[in-house]
């Protein structure tokens, strides 16, 4: 995945950039399956690699440009990025270690979900049960966000009179 990202950063052909983004999304979905996140992997594969690539290609066709100009004076941006990375790595030492069963995120609310969700909702898929029932308000807000995005795109790209640029 690191190889794909570096290639993407250095590539100038926009079509190649978009396709490498799609490849990166597929690799992400595969890694997510290895991490036991099957719902997230399915969503990332369909949304990230499918719909995102289609929208990018559509926008690319509308923008009618093929090549990006090379980044002028990249060294300040590179130095800033590396500095931010160093700070983040230093901060990440305090985060829970990989697969530590006693870490804080496995206590408190999650054992209740895992133990009680099949009894209270009758749904074996815990992710769906939490998404639709225990955290239903969040999903309601998310559906509204999707609707707002659609309404926003309609507002931006609607044509008033055919054949005449607004």
């Amino acid at each position: 995945m690191a190889v794909v990202v570096v290639l993407l950063a250095r590539s100038r052909n926009l079509f190649g950039v978009v396709l490498l983004g799609g490849v990166y999304s597929f690799l992400t979905a595969t890694v997510l399956v290895a991490l036991d996140a099957v719902d997230v992997a399915m969503t990332e594969a369909s949304v990230g690699a499918g719909i995102s690539t289609v929208l990018f290609l559509g926008a690319l066709h509308l923008c009618k440009s093929e090549d990006a100009r090379p980044a002028r004076r990249p060294w300040p941006a590179l130095a800033l990025s590396v500095a931010v990375g160093a700070v983040l790595v230093y901060g990440a030492q305090g985060l829970p270690a990989f697969s530590d069963p006693a870490s804080a995120i496995h206590q408190h609310v999650v054992p209740r979900y895992l133990n009680d969700a099949p009894k209270e909702t009758g749904v074996p898929n815990i992710v769906t049960a939490v998404l639709a029932s225990y955290r239903g308000f969040d999903t309601f807000g998310e559906t509204t966000v999707v609707f707002t995005a659609g309404a926003g795109v309609v507002a931006l790209l609607r044509r008033r009179r055919p054949g005449r640029k607004p």
Binding site: L35, A59, A92, A97
Partner: protein, 132 residues
């Protein structure tokens, strides 16, 4: 805490990968002038944040959080729920960003950041000089 400190190099390796992807996405957003490439970089940044949440939730020897009689240990389902919402919101943001890019292209005839700022220079100077 001592176990975390003694195995810190290997147990926190996943964070190194996550931070590398995050920094790469950040670099693409900052350094590249092309708007479409910036949006792809933003997508890479968002994907690294998904990993930041999901990797600590994985329990080695566990399985996907779908309850069945054959398994006893499950991975943590809570990050999955949060990241599912994050992915969908991410694609909503992407669609709006692409629509804005198309409109910018029609208004300025270019999608390079430097050209757009240069085309706005006379307007900005005019506004600055006429301000009381």
């Amino acid at each position: 805490m001592s176990s975390a400190a003694s195995a810190s190099a290997f147990s926190h390796y996943s964070y190194l990968v996550t931070v590398f992807l995050m920094v790469a996405g950040l670099y693409i957003v900052i350094a590249c002038g092309n708007l479409i490439k910036k949006l792809v970089g933003l997508g890479i940044f968002q994907t690294s944040v998904y990993f930041l949440y999901i990797v600590p939730g994985k329990v080695v020897g566990g399985t996907a959080p779908i309850v069945s009689d054959a398994f006893k240990v499950y991975s943590n389902p809570l990050p999955h729920v949060l990241i599912l919402t994050a992915i969908v919101v991410g694609v909503a943001t992407l669609a709006l960003g692409l629509a804005l890019t198309v409109r910018i292209r029609e208004a300025y005839d270019t999608i390079e950041e430097g050209d757009i700022l240069a085309a706005d220079e006379p307007d900005r100077r005019a506004v600055g000089s006429s301000a009381p």
